[in-house]
Symmetry: C2
Subunit: 262 residues, 2 copies
């Protein structure tokens, strides 16, 4: 079942091609992205099933991690053997653990309709760690999806994927214009709450109906753009009794989403 | 008021000494630490007043940021002029903004007593960003202090300081053994809540008395050590309706602290 040939050179044509997937440009050109490490690959095998290649070191095939993955492996996915130092050239971290997968990027969404009742909407979130953490938190809170508006950092960036801890495959995560997202949410009467600090915002605790919600979080520096605050059903804020001027966006998103989690 | 001599060499004796403050070892040896950027320096001037040196580029002295800082400057603190490329060698980031300060490390705490009613306790938190974000969130939530147990990452690490956004000077942040912290909190009947996933933990929402609390958060991988869970007054957890196995520690701390924020 396993190929016996081991890729030994960083100059191998396929390795050079896959290495380009470490950049947003390369991912867009090839329509693929990389994930690394046992946990992410395991979650992708369980939930995503869009594998193009599974790359492992010969040592990895002897490890207990491999036995963990092997039971989820589709029959037509034959692992490609890659020498450890060659695999390292495809890794964004110091420790690739011996396993990297090449996956298909999802297709562009032309139209979208909510299948669930709870969504997180992001307006120009820039930090990969913040984006990944918010996807992980949305999953934990039982949200149905995370909608990435224009200007949000590429979700297939390795830092984002690692911070999601695999949650990216547990719920709907799509890039969509916030115009379209607002229209689709309003059409099914899911209330849109935009985080804001201005006069018309209400304290988030005062919301009593928690069975459906779309929460809009904004850019780390600028917050949610005025346009999206005005088009939302309600501007909300988190009262802060202390002296800090603001909260980290992922922490604020966590506090708000868990308001609607039960 | 300003010295006219400009330090032009990275080999200058003082520059070489200060550069060692970029490491935990250097900070410990010299008893000083560095902060950079207008916002952190401004917060330190407003709240901390433990300045050893204030280093600025000649260009910075002409900027509007400087006018912002100048009004908080104590009369005996004379800025030292450093050429931009030399100052860069003391910076942990690509953009030092033109201002870096050398501050005194706080004295070791021999004994500690709570002056407030709400504390965050950390057991072996490893990620600088998580630590800094939790200090910022504790400040926002109106907590009185963050107590750093053994094994927690050095709070004077530049990544921690930047993530605090200056909140480190808005509340008490001290390194202390959790043994001593528990004793001191119990002596004044502040209930200690340790986050845990085991059988005896209760949902955090079920706590009704929110006027005082000590919340214990643990290591990113291992959680709070069993010992500290058992010695706490109550083990608590955040119910997660979704499929994620866990929350980021800073997000979880945010959800819990804001339970006690009002």
């Amino acid at each position: 079942m396993v190929e016996h040939e081991i890729i030994q050179s960083r100059q191998n044509t396929k390795i050079k091609l896959w290495r380009k997937l470490l950049t947003a440009k390369g991912r867009k050109q090839q329509g693929h992205f990389l994930i690394e490490g046992t946990h992410l690959v395991e979650e992708a095998l369980k939930y995503a099933q869009r594998f193009v290649e599974l790359l492992v070191t010969p040592e990895y095939l002897e490890s207990s991690e491999w036995s963990l993955l092997a039971k989820y492996l589709p029959v037509n996915l034959r692992p490609v053997l890659v020498a450890a130092d060659v695999l390292k050239s495809l890794s964004a971290t110091e420790t690739h653990q011996g396993v990297i997968a090449v996956l298909d990027l999802p297709k562009k969404i032309e139209s979208w309709q909510p299948n669930g009742s709870k969504y997180l909407l992001l307006d120009s979130v820039q930090d990969p760690g913040n984006l990944g953490t918010m996807i992980r938190t949305a999953d934990a809170a039982g949200f149905d999806g995370v909608l990435l508006g224009q200007g949000t950092v590429d979700v297939y960036n390795d830092k984002v994927l690692r911070a999601t801890q695999g949650s990216i495959w547990h719920l709907e995560v799509i890039s969509i214009s916030l115009d379209k997202a607002y229209d689709a949410l309003k059409a099914v009467a899911i209330p849109i709450y935009a985080t804001a600090l201005h006069q018309t915002a209400i304290e988030y605790q005062s919301i009593t109906e928690t069975s459906k919600a779309a929460i809009v979080m904004g850019n780390e520096g600028a917050g949610v753009a005025q346009k999206w605050i005005e088009l939302a059903d309600q501007a909300i804020y988190i009262p802060m009794p202390g002296q800090a001027e603001s909260l980290n966006v992922a922490v604020a998103a966590g506090i708000l989403m868990f308001k609607f989690a039960s």
